[in-house]
Amino acid sequence: MLRFVTARLLNMVFVLVGVSLLTFLVGHLAPGDPILILLGNNKSPELYAQIKAAYGLDRPFVEQFAKFAWRALHGDFGLSYVQQGQAVTDILARGVPVSLQIGGLALLCTLAVAVPLGTIAAVRSNTWFDNLIVSIALALYAVPNFILAPLLLSVDIALYRRGLPSLPVAGWGTPAHLVLPVLVYSLGSSAYLVRLTRNSVLEVLREDYVRTARAKGLSNRAVNARHVVRNSLIPIVTYVGPSVAFLVSGSFVIEYMFAIPGIGYLAVQSLYQRDFPVVQGITVSLAAAVVVMNLITDISYAILDPRVRYG
């Protein structure tokens, strides 16, 4: 186990260096000059050269990357091109907690709703309850969140117009601001997870060891809790692990639509404005989170399934 973890951690270094190089390269090669965008209508050749030099963009590529990598190793992604005088790390530090809150809450809601529902649907498969759950899940899964959000919003606006209690349509700050985005966030992922859980539980229910457990005379409850649920967790853990990692990056669509100052909102803006230091900072942190979460997921496999051994 220890050797496995060490090897994976070593791997992680390569992955991160690779991701940084790739991000840097893409930023470098992508069409769209950040300085031109910064200047807008007010361009003059002297001003252009002056600003380009100020950001070190006139240096050779290798030198730019070496500088970037050296700073990144020290947790410094440099200064934003667009947000004057602000360090990328400060910008990330503001956005990550927001995204974590929205995403974390949504993930908890998803798990709290989807795993029990999926399990019940499987245990009572082919009953009206199962059919209902599966149909709703399928419908929600098919509706993308950029359709779901305006639907919920129009209901909310209609409530407001009639003077009924309504929710804020955008922004951040009070618990009420969390409701709509978390709802949109979790409805779609619940739909997916319900189906995943149901299939996984169904599969386990058909296993020989479940039949054996029943034959031993164990109660339904004991069989389900001790044998079925635990064994059907592996696909769910596989889903949850990377999901946790992606909490760091937030949801581009949802944060944009609800004007939530998280990392997703920031990423979209930074891409539009060619704010490469911020984009690089986001990408590298996301990559680090994914690598770490994948490692944790792999370790938890071993805990859930004693047959899994790493050596």
Binding site: Q84, P116, I157, N220, M257
Partner: protein
């Protein structure tokens, strides 16, 4: 398993109750004298430094906190703000006298030393290095360019005479000079507060919640009176549709000033709190006059005559006003030249034939390049394609580009035909001299006409307004006669302003208050 079902139901019930409880605070919040303004299309301001900004997004904030020596009134005219002025007979020296009672939000009086410091800061190499572009507007001040490039230690032409008087000397007479002083690039700040950005405007900075909003509170020393509002909050909505929803649910009192979602205009324009005003900007097509076939003025004219501007305007829900002129209506020196190429398919076809391409035969492959920043752009492009096909029999390919890449293409002049949306400007010089003169950096068309250059150079420094306009109008007629641009329409700014807001409306540059201190709430 059976016991689980009721508990689930309970959870559902409880969460429904929780949702309702959460919803109540937003429904019953009471309002003091506050105002919140939506700032669309951006998630945050890049900086609070007025000398670094100047676009519509920043103006929503800078107008509240900063002011300059002059401002633009509701008729588009430059009028005194922090100072009154007189001009020397040769038109080259302006003497400014600071208004009595003008004070910063710290309480300190505005002195000529603050003005000298502010203008020097605005044009300093350090400010320019961060993206400050004051030199584009103030380059006419004697010694400004030398100072901006680092050759001198201060702007030679800006001098304090005494505590409340200063002189600004120009390189040549320029009638438009006061109109360049309104923007935030020429904002006056308190020298003693330095980089804390303290202004003498109606409000002062209170809070900046990054990615969400900026809040300002009254400047108790504002020389125009203490503001009636207790607080103004500028809220950022990167997605204009979100700002519209926020207005509908009472979260903002003003929306649309920067970017109104065009898909909502038909619905919103039915409302009584909707208003719309043509602003002094221009959307036009720019042909690359250095590459065949648009190096031939006759070909350019043919393409310009083939455009049905009215049809384009109605395609955009009628929320722009079609034009054939370069200088927008409402701006000084607007001519409304009847000879300007306007929709005439017969003339268009005839001209293309005269140019040697009857029915489009012999023309190279043509591409119209545009920045795809909204679905409207795609609709305009498709309509233009159809108009050229119908009137000229020419198939023009469409090339929609992401905005960042598009700007590069414009800059490098590697396009054949492109589109530019030029925002509000307060002087004809911005349209003619800065964008069509052969030596100007903003001349994307690569247009080169000696007579045009001479006329605009003379007009820029002419002080007699009638003579100045005559020069500009002659220059405009030359550019239109050779179809250096194909003007399409003047943009309109559309806003929703809650009826309880008083003293706030639309002016030639967008959202406008005659005096922000007098803006109030009637409820």
């Amino acid at each position: 398993m059976k016991r689980q079902a009721p508990s689930l139901r309970q959870i559902a019930l409880k969460s429904a109750v929780a949702l309702l409880v959460l919803a109540i605070p937003s429904a019953v919040f009471a309002q003091a004298k506050t105002l919140s303004i939506a700032n669309e299309g951006i998630a945050d301001l890049p900086s609070l430094d007025p000398h670094l900004t100047g676009n519509a997004n920043s103006r929503v904030f800078t107008n509240l906190v900063f002011n300059g020596l002059a401002r633009i009134d509701g008729n588009g005219k430059a009028v005194p703000d922090l100072a009154t002025w007189t001009v020397s007979p040769d038109g080259r020296t302006y003497t400014f006298t600071i208004q009595p009672g003008a004070r910063f939000s710290t309480g300190a009086p505005v002195t000529s030393a603050d003005v000298v410091w502010s203008l020097n800061r605005a044009l300093s190499p350090a400010t320019a290095g961060k993206g400050g572009f004051g030199i584009v507007y103030l380059g006419i001040i004697q010694g400004a360019r030398d100072y901006n490039s680092g050759a001198t230690a201060a702007i030679e032409g800006v001098k304090a005479v005494d505590d409340t008087t200063l002189t600004i000397e120009l390189t040549s007479a320029a009638a438009y000079f006061p109109s360049t002083l309104y923007g935030s690039w020429a904002a006056i700040m308190e020298e003693a507060s330095g980089e804390d950005f303290v202004g003498a405007g109606p409000f002062q900075m209170a809070d900046w919640a990054h990615g969400q909003s900026i809040t300002v509170k009254p400047n108790p020393y504002y020389f125009g009176g203490v503001a009636q509002l207790d607080e103004v909050t500028v809220k950022f909505y990167a997605n204009p549709d979100t700002a519209y929803n926020a207005y509908l649910t009472g979260a903002v009192d003003v929306m649309g000033a920067v970017h109104f979602p065009s898909s909502k205009v038909p619905e919103a324009s039915q409302r009584s709190d909707f208003s719309s005003n043509a602003i002094l900007g221009l959307t036009y097509l720019v042909p690359n006059t250095r590459i065949a076939p648009f190096d031939d003025p006759t070909v350019r004219l043919a393409f310009s005559y083939a455009i049905d501007r009215k049809a384009l305007a109605s395609l955009l829900g009628g929320m722009v006003s079609p034009t054939s002129d370069i200088v927008p209506q409402g701006l000084v020196c607007h001519s409304g030249d009847p000879a300007a190429p306007s929709y005439n398919p017969e003339t268009a076809a005839r001209l293309l034939g005269e140019a040697g391409y009857p029915g489009g035969a012999g023309l190279p492959a043509l591409t119209y390049t545009y920045g795809a920043n909204s679905p409207d752009q795609d609709r305009i492009a498709a309509a233009l394609q159809q108009m050229w096909q119908q009137a000229l029999g020419v198939h023009v390919n469409l090339n929609a580009m992401e905005m960042g890449s598009y700007l590069e293409v414009l800059d490098a002049r590697t396009f054949q035909l492109a589109m530019i949306e030029w925002g509000a400007s307060t002087d004809p010089r911005s349209f003619l001299s800065l964008q069509l003169r052969s030596d100007s950096g903003g001349n994307n068309a690569g247009y080169n006409n000696q007579r045009f250059d001479e006329l605009t150079r003379a007009a820029d420094v002419e002080t007699v307004i009638e003579t100045r306009c005559a020069l500009y109008q002659e220059a405009e007629a030359i550019a239109l006669g050779e179809a250096a641009w194909f003007p399409l329409y003047n943009p309109t700014v559309n806003v929703l302003i809650r009826p309880s807001v008083t003293g706030l409306g639309l002016g030639p540059l967008g959202l406008y208050a005659d005096n922000w201190a007098k803006v109030g709430r009637s409820e």
